[in-house]
């Protein structure tokens, strides 16, 4: 399953726990997009679903050596490709 999914582009919100993805696109407009880019979420960046809050929203992601929390609706707009590391 992993091999078949390797090139599939999915929203960050569907990335399984502990697995890594590479950001392909940030499909939000306006200040929120600017903010996400400022925090280092630019295409090509590796990102890992680290852990979830009790209700599943928000979730914590590991990116560029730091942890950051994203709401589900933000994570839905960030497209990633499954990747190693």
């Amino acid at each position: 399953m992993a091999a078949a999914n390797q090139d599939t582009i999915i929203p960050l919100s569907l990335l399984p726990n502990d697995s890594w993805g590479e950001i392909v696109a940030v499909e939000i407009m306006g200040p929120v997009k600017r903010r996400l880019l400022d925090l280092g979420l630019v295409p090509g960046t590796k990102i890992q679903f680290a852990f979830s809050s009790p209700l599943g929203d928000p979730r914590a992601y590991r990116v560029r050596g730091t942890l950051l929390a994203l709401r589900a609706n933000e994570a839905q707009s960030i497209m990633v490709r499954r990747s190693e590391q």
């Binding site: 200040p31 600017r34 903010r35 400022d38 925090l39 280092g40 560029r64 050596g65």
Partner: protein
């Protein structure tokens, strides 16, 4: 440029980089706090002396960016832009340098008189990271000083670098950031027009904000005028034809 008898140093950096530790280590007990006019953001200022020169250090709010998404970012940006500090120090976290360099590049686009303080070098070492600050300085075109502010390590070198940049003994030359060809064409047009309008600011930086339709920066130049950024640029006779296509 401020009178070098009382040079001003702006201290910027991401949150949690030990910026305030650097501030306290630089200024010791010689500090006071105050409000930035019109904003409920507190700024602390302090002084330190180096080579018979007393430097005033202003501790700006910790921000990830200078794009004025929040009052903190706007205060930090406006201070660097309009108070014309003699030197701007950007404190970065050596353990996540990559993420911190975004702010460094944004500051370098505003002012070349910048010193990068690579803090938390001890933490980086504990994590097995080796940060080549000499290489970083070469790549950025400004001094990069390794520091452990908590224990005072590197602070003398930081003060010396601040002094040298303020007095022009070190000539900084940040590597210019090149954008897509389309943007560069638009920038060339705008920069030429803007140069005489705001002689103290980087016309390239201003042109970039205009292209982004950043309203907050325009307010500083058009206090009476309600013209929005987009209509100003659109109506500008020399830019209408060449620039307009990239806005839509």
């Amino acid at each position: 440029m401020n009178n070098l008898k009382h040079p001003i140093v702006a201290l910027s950096g991401n949150p949690n980089t030990g910026k305030s530790t650097v501030f306290n280590a630089l200024t010791g007990l010689n500090q006071h706090t105050g409000n930035w006019p019109g904003k409920t953001v507190t700024l602390a200022a302090g002084t330190f002396a180096w080579q018979n020169t007393t430097f005033t250090v202003v501790d700006l709010p910790g921000t990830y960016s200078l794009f004025a998404n929040s009052p903190d970012e706007e205060v930090a940006r406006d201070f660097i832009l309009f108070e014309l500090p003699d030197v701007t120090v950007v404190v970065v976290d050596a353990t996540c340098l990559e993420r911190n360099l975004n702010l460094v590049l944004q500051v370098l686009e505003i002012t070349p008189k910048t010193v990068v303080c690579v803090n938390l070098m001890d933490e980086a070492q504990r994590q097995g990271l080796v940060v080549d600050t000499d290489k970083l300085a070469t790549e950025l075109g400004v001094p990069a000083i390794p520091c452990v502010a908590r224990s005072g390590k590197g602070l003398a070198a930081l003060k010396k670098a601040i002094f040298n940049v303020a007095t022009g003994r070190i000539a900084t030359s940040p590597r210019p950031i090149r954008y897509d060809p389309n943007i560069e064409i638009a920038l060339a047009v705008l920069t030429k027009e803007l140069s005489p309008l705001a002689p103290l600011l980087s016309p390239r930086w201003l042109a970039l904000r205009l292209l982004e339709q950043d309203e907050s920066i325009l307010q500083h130049f058009l206090p009476e005028d309600k013209t929005s950024t987009s209509s100003l640029v659109m109506q500008h006779p020399s830019t209408t034809k060449k620039v307009a296509p990239w806005f839509s």
